[in-house]
């Protein structure tokens, strides 16, 4: 009887879940991002010209990929863990000798893998709209994608722990995540904003991720990549600590 078997069981269950319902989990981002690339990148983008020395299409591709990673890593964990609570089979995890960190890592793995898989699908779709995708640093691309997926999977997990209804699961994505995504420099450079909005934008964590990720592709960023990565890692450490504390106290899952 080993902890690795327990962890493997949760990861397998989570991955199997989103692969089994792929028309709900993998297909929609493919369609949505195709429309982004077609409308914003091709139809409108051709009239915009270049930003930071690259075409508008090339400029938005990294942001759109990362936006998909963010929303799907978040949605996977929040919906899966909340369903587990809602159907009460979270009790299986609580009654069994499963360490809290295994529950956390298991559910995060599902979210991270779905986020990265969706990111891969969107990357493939972007290839239909540009001749080739520029890669400045593959290491920065992969590192930023993995850290971003981890951070939002964690946020989704905390959301699910605190949620008491399905409404609570949709509130954060609709009213916080989507605005932050769109205001995080996916479709524009923050240098295009008035000075006051540039400063306000620095409080948006997604801005750091998008810029770090974009730097991996085109080698241009509105902010220092090292600072961006350090901030993401800082957020991750904070949310891991918070999640483990909530699990140990049983917040939202034990009476």
């Amino acid at each position: 009887m080993s902890t690795s078997t327990t962890l493997y069981t949760i990861v397998y269950k989570e991955v199997h879940r989103f692969l089994r319902i792929w028309p709900q989990t993998l297909l929609p981002p493919a369609i949505t991002t195709s429309l982004y690339f077609l409308i914003f990148g091709r139809l409108i983008g051709d009239r915009i010209g270049t930003i930071n020395g690259v075409s508008y299409m090339e400029y938005i591709i990294p942001g759109v990929i990362l936006m998909s990673v963010i929303s799907h890593s978040y949605a996977n964990v929040s919906s899966s863990f909340y369903s587990t609570k809602f159907q009460r089979h979270v009790e299986e995890l609580l009654v069994a000798p499963v360490p809290n960190w295994v529950i956390l890592v298991g559910y995060l793995s599902g979210g991270i893998l779905r986020g990265l898989l969706v990111g891969g699908v969107v990357t493939l779709i972007s290839l239909m709209f540009v001749d080739k995708v520029e890669i400045h640093s593959l290491f920065i691309i992969l590192l930023t994608a993995c850290l971003t997926a981890t951070l939002f999977a964690l946020a989704g997990f905390i959301n699910a722990m605190l949620a008491e209804s399905f409404d609570h699961i949709s509130l954060i994505p609709n009213f916080i995540l989507t605005p932050l995504n769109y205001l995080g420099g996916v479709f524009y450079s923050v240098s295009m904003l008035p000075e006051i909005w540039q400063k306000i934008s620095l409080a948006n964590p997604i801005l750091y991720m998008v810029n770090s990720f974009r730097y991996g592709f085109i080698g241009v960023s509105d902010i220092t990549v090292e600072l961006a990565l350090a901030r993401i890692i800082g957020f991750i450490i904070f949310l891991i600590s918070l999640s483990l504390w909530m699990l140990s106290k049983g917040i939202g899952i034990r009476n």
């Binding site: 009460r88 089979h89 009790e91 299986e92 069994a96």
Partner: protein, 301 residues
């Protein structure tokens, strides 16, 4: 060694409701133990705390000597729980529910398959192993929960109203299963509202009322407290008024049905003699209610 030991266990919910007011309880290894109480008495709270689903306010719980605070994983390995409500994934197949649960206990898939087969066959669910669980009947869903609880061979099995809402045929087959599991050495704690179930299966009993243990003894001793037996008599001829015979309490529920309370020291022969003297002929008789039910009502009221 005790299978379960509760010491001064208390639980006060956030709204101030005191569900448990300091209960002490010991269940011996291999025992078949009934934990009875009315709805809201505190049974499910106690079970929730024992199985780590509810945080206790204070007190100690140990399962086979493992304290749930300090040796949580060891304590959990000894415990199997069949909860009151369905709590498995309704979109999974029956076999997968068991395999995933075994995985939570760190049992490798190959071994888990063998154990799942054994457990499902024991619950007569083997032919349903590929069925999506939401398509099962209520009785089958309950049996899935028992099969799941047995997969890691727990030394203590808690069954929280396992036969609620199932038909008599399934209930009886579940009784046989519970006896079989107990005979194999697993201690069982049973909560039920069917008191005849507790009376026929359990050796020891505790009654919980308003968060306190109000009775805790072996079943035989408890039943010996009953000093009145109640019978329902079917009369050969109609009566207009219940007879008045010293030492007995009669109540006419219809003109040909007479209820009687007989002191335990009296025999039925004495009763029949008295009734014959009053020219009352009896066609048949039956127990008015389960003995434990009578006692339970006396204790909690």
């Amino acid at each position: 060694m005790n299978a379960l030991s509760l010491q001064n266990l208390t639980k006060t919910y956030g709204n101030g409701f005191e569900a448990l007011k300091g209960i002490d309880l010991e269940v011996e290894e291999g025992d078949f133990f009934a934990l009875l109480g009315a709805n809201g008495a505190g049974k499910s709270t106690a079970i929730g705390i024992i199985s780590s689903l509810i945080n206790k306010t204070s007190g100690h719980v140990s399962i086979f000597g493992h304290d749930i605070d300090t040796e949580n994983r060891e304590a959990k390995r000894c415990l199997g729980l069949v909860p009151q409500e369905i709590n498995f994934n309704l979109f999974e197949t029956v076999e997968n529910i068991l395999l995933i649960y075994a995985g939570y206990y760190g049992i490798p898939k190959k071994k888990a398959k063998v154990l799942a087969e054994k457990s499902l066959k024991q619950m007569y669910l083997w032919d349903k192993r590929h069925t999506i669980s939401r398509r099962l009947s209520g009785g089958m869903k309950r049996r899935v929960m028992i099969a799941r609880a047995l997969i890691h061979s727990p030394r203590l099995l808690i069954l929280d109203e396992p036969t609620a809402g199932v038909d008599i045929e399934i209930r009886r087959s579940m009784w046989e299963m519970m006896k079989e599991v107990n005979e194999q050495g697993t201690a069982i704690i049973l909560t039920t509202h069917y008191l005849e179930e507790a009376e026929s299966l359990c050796r020891n009993i505790a009654i919980i009322h308003e968060g306190m243990i109000v009775e805790n003894s072996d079943m035989a001793t408890l039943l010996s407290y009953i000093n009145v037996n109640h019978f329902i008599l079917d009369l050969a001829n109609p009566l207009l008024k219940a007879p008045d015979i010293k030492g007995y309490k009669f109540e006419l529920s219809s003109e040909k049905v007479l209820n009687v309370a007989i002191p335990k020291k009296n025999t039925l022969n004495q009763l029949f003699e008295e009734l014959s003297m009053h020219n009352i002929q009896i066609k048949s008789l039956k127990n008015k209610s389960n003995r434990l039910e009578q006692l339970f009502m006396d204790i909690v009221q």
